[in-house]
């Protein structure tokens, strides 16, 4: 009997329709070949450096450090990447891989629109066709990103089923992939879904922790005491953690979206409120009811509004290597405003979840300790929504 592939402890696997099995097997074989191919890596590094603008800066947040009065705070500036978020790291890798595999069409899901914009960008760059699935609710919350994707030459399909948010966009992209496989690569945006996606996406995002390590060693001559990032599916978080997993002195902290609170139904905090399940191709933790029906989750952040978490995070939680904390909408909005005023950096509302926890944690740390926060994206896209949250009705 064939073995289940792509496990992280008990999590992961390939829970997908038979129709897609040869597609994911072909993808795994292609990835295993190209990840060690010098030409592929040279091309990818060239795209990272000359197109996306890597390496991204590790910025010492002096004012924030002084204001909080504890650990030295560094910000990993993924918001400075081309297209404004970490999503481009994964997309450039997958689009290059898809092109090597002879695929001419990319499909993708998107929540906040950042992954959709990144995929549309890579498709434009590489001359590929692109279709992005986006929950109808999110197309309203993130109208500007819908326009950006169209401007870049992609089709955007509003998904009306279910809660019309990220999980429904993933379901619809999976359905589309079963419909058209031979010329199409599903450019999945997070460390989730069936194997090999959690591994591929992690590897392309691990450039974040690789750079943090080099940069913090250059600046401080030592490793940080903690690294933190926001977690929806968990791609910028796993990218931030990956090269520190073996360094046990480095605390790994993921910040989940608690929405209106973990004691309410309006939450997306998977580790805090979910239980073990099987969905979207993987075994992991999911927000669900007692009969396994997937919960209609909620967060102010469209990018974290997902009922599951990537299988490697579920495993890091199980073994106690990483810690996951819930952050409410209100805390995230306060952190969004705080970082804007304190450092002149407007973070994505997703990233603001990590900033919020840093505001709690840093004052409890010693002044000689080092805390790195990954700012996964920039917050321009969120300004209208946050203004509305604060009762100010502005149009984009």
């Amino acid at each position: 009997m064939a073995q289940s592939r792509g496990r992280f402890g008990i999590h992961g696997g390939q829970y997908i329709p038979e129709t897609l099995m040869n597609a994911v097997i072909e993808l795994e074989e292609a990835y295993n070949h190209y990840k060690n191919d010098p030409e592929f890596n040279r091309e990818l590094t060239d795209l990272f450096n000359n197109y996306a603008g890597r390496p991204s800066r590790l910025y010492f947040a002096k004012k924030m450090t002084e204001d909080l009065g504890g650990a030295k705070i560094y910000l990993k500036r993924e918001d400075l990447n081309h297209t404004g978020a970490h999503k481009i790291n994964n997309v450039l890798g997958q689009a290059l891989l898809a092109r090597k595999m002879g695929k001419t069409r990319l499909i993708a899901e998107t929540g906040a629109g950042q992954h959709g914009v990144a995929t549309a960008t890579a498709a434009a760059l590489m001359g590929m066709e692109c279709v992005v699935f986006m929950g109808e609710e999110d197309t309203k919350r993130q109208a500007l990103n819908v326009y950006r994707m169209k401007l870049l030459g992609s089709d955007v399909i509003p998904v009306k089923t279910g809660t019309a948010t990220l999980k429904d966009a993933v379901s619809e992209a999976m359905r589309e992939w079963t419909n058209r496989i031979s010329d199409t690569h599903y450019c999945l945006g997070s460390v989730m879904g069936p194997h090999p996606f959690p591994t591929i996406v992690r590897d392309f995002q691990s450039v974040i922790s690789k750079e943090i390590k080099e940069q913090v060693l250059a600046a401080e001559g030592r490793l940080p005491d903690a690294v933190m990032a926001c977690v929806g599916g968990g791609s910028n978080a796993i990218g931030t953690f990956y090269h520190f997993i073996e360094d046990e002195g480095v605390q790994l902290i993921g910040c989940e979206a608690a929405g209106r609170g973990v004691d309410t139904w309006e939450t997306a905090a998977t580790v805090a409120t979910g239980k073990l399940g099987i969905f979207h191709g993987m075994k992991s933790y999911f927000c669900q009811d007692e009969y396994g029906q997937i919960a209609p989750v909620y967060s102010i952040s469209a990018g974290l509004d997902y009922p599951g978490i990537g299988p490697e995070h579920a495993w890091l939680h199980d073994i106690g290597r990483a810690q996951y904390v819930p952050i409410t909408d209100e805390q995230a909005v306060e952190a969004f405003e705080y970082l804007s005023r304190m450092e002149g950096i407007i973070p994505a509302i997703e990233s603001a979840h990590a900033v919020a926890y840093a505001r709690e944690l840093a004052p409890k740390m010693r002044k000689d300790q080092i805390l790195v926060i990954t700012i996964s994206g920039r917050g321009d896209k969120d300004c209208a929504a946050i203004a509305r949250y604060r009762g100010e009705d502005i149009s984009e």
């Binding site: 329709p17 279910g162 079963t178 396994g292 997937i294």
Partner: protein, 255 residues
């Protein structure tokens, strides 16, 4: 030998799919009885799931209607027990991995077997992942139905060798739903299955007309119809049992 074999003992099998609780469980019971009386050889009972990733819009909407009406796994088990008082055709559940897993796979299989079910179809559990479910199903005398797809190619032999009950041949790429044409060479897929096992094969996805069902059954052992029946139920609601019965009789006669 499981009861599923009996479904293929009366000529080519006609297999309808019905979402439990659409529009309500009493109507589902009446539809199942009408389908059985009209000659259905095996009936798939769908346990609704919030996010059915292998389904097209018609069955997605049936799932939503059923869940909005308050259907749960336990209520579906009650329905199965009630049906088994007089319905003798083989019955299999069709649902998603998380519905079984969250109930507790062993508890689910034990309850299903005690309720008189004969098998389970899980479209999001491929060959490599069946270990989570297969042994427990076998322990309780349930067949975990294997699926093969137009993209399976070199996987067909491996899947067929370990299949039990019947093999569900997915006729086309994509999700469930009515199609005007089915272009896959089903006969070629069946030949590979035949080289590896003698268990029967039924074809599903996209079939709605008697002509399509006859063509698919001609190269296999039966035809499975879901979305076309769900559309009748969506149109007629509580009056659907008679309409579904008439449709099933017409389809069975065409095979």
């Amino acid at each position: 030998m499981s009861r599923i074999r009996e479904a293929f003992a009366h000529g080519k099998a006609f297999i309808p799919f019905i979402t439990c609780g659409d529009p309500d469980l009493d109507t589902t019971a009446a539809i199942v009885r009408a389908a059985a009386a009209a000659g259905a050889d095996l009936i798939e009972l769908g346990i609704p799931f919030s996010d059915p990733t292998a389904e097209g819009p018609v069955i997605q909407e049936a799932n939503i209607r059923a869940l909005s009406g308050g259907v749960t796994t336990d209520k579906v088990f009650d329905l199965a027990r009630e049906l088994r008082k007089d319905v003798t055709v083989p019955l299999v559940f069709m649902t998603y991995a998380n519905v079984v897993f969250s109930y507790g796979t062993e508890r689910f299989c034990k309850t299903a077997a005690e309720a008189g079910m004969d098998g389970i179809i899980l479209p999001d559990v491929p060959f490599e992942e069946k270990g989570d479910f297969d042994d427990i199903c076998r322990q309780y005398g349930l067949d975990l139905i294997s699926l093969i797809a137009p993209t399976s190619n070199d996987r067909i032999a491996m899947i067929a060798k370990e299949a039990s009950g019947f093999i569900y041949i997915v006729s086309s790429l994509g999700v469930t739903g009515v199609r005007s044409q089915i272009t896959t060479d089903i006969g070629a897929m069946v030949s590979i299955v035949r080289e590896n096992t003698d268990i029967p094969c039924a074809v599903g996805f996209g079939i709605s007309t008697p002509e399509q069902a006859a063509a698919m059954a001609a190269v296999s052992d039966g035809a499975i119809v879901g979305s076309a029946i769900i559309r009748i139920i969506a149109q007629y609601g509580k009056d659907a049992p008679e309409q579904v019965g008439r449709y099933v009789a017409q389809m069975k006669a065409a095979l």
